[in-house]
């Protein structure tokens, strides 16, 4: 009986962690190329609502997902234009993106509150794998987007560390002047990964509105975008670490949920605080550890590249 509860909690940890995982993977790409994008929360929200609107209109969650990617990517393009082309302050631009995203999604979503989604993403049990004891129900009885994230993690890891494109990306994030001198287009590289990051954040948002919840609520991301930003530091800019990191955060979320259902004598408001407090605690521990192990963010993270100041 307790195993069932454990499996249920772990399975929820996976689904609860998935939106954070997508967003964190996107942020890893942006930050590896040297652009800090604090607009993840805003991009997720706009992704969630645009995906939901199309999901409702077409009754096809896949079309909704594509729309969410387009929306997240477009939001990220604003950030890229401001920070890469106009060399604006990345912190403030990211905050603006989040605030704008909260406003825009609220504006677009006004008519969508309480509207049911005709066709959410459905659970697909993977043949063979889903029958595995324990592992099966935890990892392989989910919707297709979870499986997409399983594929994305090793793919992005290989991209970053094993390919020429990844070498260029990391060089641009570490030392753009050097990359430029070796003929790598710093501006184009940053645009590409910031926008790709926005698309992934859009998927993360759409996962909430098209699979996890599935419906639209104002501010439904509830800080997950920010947790994703923290997760990137926790994962030391590595997609593989982001995977299990996201599931830990998802697990905290799921745990609060479960404890509430089990009628534990803790106020639900305190249980809801858990992910935020946990994020702070983890961030402090990880920053300390990274300091000791001399693991740092990409050297040029947050610094606009200006050719004249070579």
């Amino acid at each position: 009986m307790t195993t069932d509860i454990l499996i249920a909690i772990l399975a929820t940890a996976v689904t609860a962690g998935t939106p954070i995982l997508f967003a964190a993977l996107g942020e890893i790409l942006a930050e590896r190329s040297g652009v800090l994008n604090l607009g993840v929360e805003g991009m997720m929200l706009v992704g969630a609502i645009s995906g939901f609107v199309i999901g409702v209109k077409t009754a096809n969650p896949w079309l909704g997902l594509i729309m969410a990617m387009v929306a997240g990517g477009s939001m990220a393009m604003i950030h890229a234009f401001l920070c890469v082309s106009l060399k604006a302050n990345q912190v403030v631009s990211g905050l603006a993106l989040t605030l704008f995203g909260i406003g825009l999604s609220g504006y677009l979503g006004k008519a969508m509150i309480g509207v049911p989604l005709p066709q959410p993403f459905q659970t697909v049990n993977l043949p063979v794998l889903s029958d595995l004891p324990f592992i099966g129900p935890v990892f392989f009885q989910h919707d297709p987007l979870v499986y997409l994230s399983f594929l994305l993690v090793p793919a992005l890891w290989a991209l970053i560390f094993k390919t020429r494109a990844g070498l260029n990306m990391r060089a641009v994030g570490e030392n753009p002047a050097t990359a430029d001198s070796m003929g790598i287009n710093v501006f184009l590289t940053r645009y590409i990964y910031v926008i790709a990051g926005g698309m992934l954040a859009g998927i993360g948002g759409a996962y909430l509105s098209l699979a996890y919840v599935p419906s639209w609520m104002e501010n439904m991301t509830a800080g997950r975008g920010w947790i994703a930003v923290a997760l990137v530091i926790f994962a030391t800019w590595n997609p593989l670490s982001a995977l299990w990191g996201a599931y830990i955060f998802g697990g905290i979320d799921a745990l609060g949920f479960r404890l509430q259902a089990l009628d534990v004598m803790i106020s639900p408001y305190f249980l809801k605080m858990l992910p935020y407090l946990f994020t702070i605690a983890v961030l402090i521990l990880v920053t300390r550890k990274n300091l000791v192990n001399r693991i740092g963010s990409p050297k040029s993270l947050g610094v606009p590249y200006d050719r004249e100041e070579r």
């Binding site: 390919t163 070498l167 050097t178």
Partner: protein, 523 residues
Amino acid sequence: MAVIMLHMNAITKRFPGVVANAGIDFDLRTGEIHALLGENGSGKSTLMSILAGLYRQDEGEIIFKGRRVDFRSPRDAIGAGIGMVHQHFKLVETFTVADNILLGDKRAAFFLNRSKSEASIEGLSARYGLQINPRAKIWQLSVGEKQRVEIVKMLYRGSEVLILDEPTAVLTPREAGELFNNLRRMTGGGRSVIVITHKLQEVMEIADRVTVLRAGRAVATLERDELSERKLAWLMVGRDVVVQHKKEPVHSSNIILDLYNVSALNDQSRPGLEDVSLNIRGGEILGMAGVAGNGQRELAEVIAGLRPVTRGAITIEGRDITNRTPREIIAAGVSHIPEDRLGTGLIPGLGAVDNLILKEYRQPSLARGPLIDWKRARADAERLVDRFNVLLTSLDAPVKFLSGGNLQKLLLAREISACPKLIVAVYPVRGLDIGAMQAVHQLLLEQRSRGAAILLISEDLDEIFKLSDRIGVLYEGRLTGFLPAEHADLEEIGLLMMGSKWTDDMEEQPNDISFTARVTHLL
């Protein structure tokens, strides 16, 4: 041999307010080492940056191997076979040597095959005697090794023309000698090398031909057999050069700074300074020579209180200041002219008044309760700017818009006006033009006459010899020796810079240094 590989015809390049290159003609033969000689600001780096695709000329044309070329970026130039090794290396510190060399290489497969490329890099570096380990991370390498990586990087791209910008500035005389031998080996293989330099001895040593630039114009191109140092100096400066700053003997007084067995860690948490003991008397300049990265920065920072001392003791006039806060050390009479002028020594976004009170704002003389007496601060600033000849548009304009020379004068104005007992000057004239350089040296000598103790850290041996009363050498965080300036010669210093213990093996060192330099007091 006399096949012309490259022509630059009537190159003109203007920057806002200056003409950096005014119709310069330059040509390069196949298989030659061609020195481009000129003072700082004479336009030699600009000319080569145009050739390397970093800038584009406003007028003029480049003919390379018979074809007119138009480089829009360094990639175009590298693709055509022209590679430049910059003074500030273009390397990604966290990457391996191999990854740096592969970076931006279009021929590499999408999925990197690291073992294959490492093998080919090893082969290439062995062929030219440029020993490097392709698997090492850049931040683990010495400056000389980093330079070899840069050269191999360009060879790997198939560069036929290799441009080196002040390549010996960061090398010991022996490393410089090795570099010149390797360059010879490359020209033997049909490549051509351009060396940008302002050092006459270097030109005499390696150049097949020399083009001298002065104030943005090419004043002469000379063949090897036409060269003499005196002639080159005259061409470069445009007037006869006389030895300046006759140092008046100063009667040095009591010991001001005393370091006893001081050790400290570097930024990588490894030993950066080990068992350094030294002292400086009032009215004495101690010149600290050594290749950059051998503990100079750490030495300056432990004295200024910016880096913790792990062992040993530091005193100022007998008062212990070991591991005191920078604030206490400033109060004890220590001035520090840091390597990073703009950003550490000065605050880029603030004006001259704000910058000039950086160390004095706590003094009762500037206080009006919790507030600062700005009227007085402004009056003081006006006086200092005037006295030190700092050229400003206004006292409130951000100082980041000032030229290097004016920045340094502003910084010195602040540091000297405090009448310090000790001045720690780190690379005080780096990047300055001749006029500003002389002004800075004059100020330091004045402080010596006033009785201040001065620790001068420099990688320019000419500067060290010109100003110092005693010379010390740092190698891998240790002091390898002390010499009185009048008895020191460049060869000895050069050996110490490579880590020889000067008493023991000084005699045993084979005299194979091809760099048969001697100290010239030309400039």
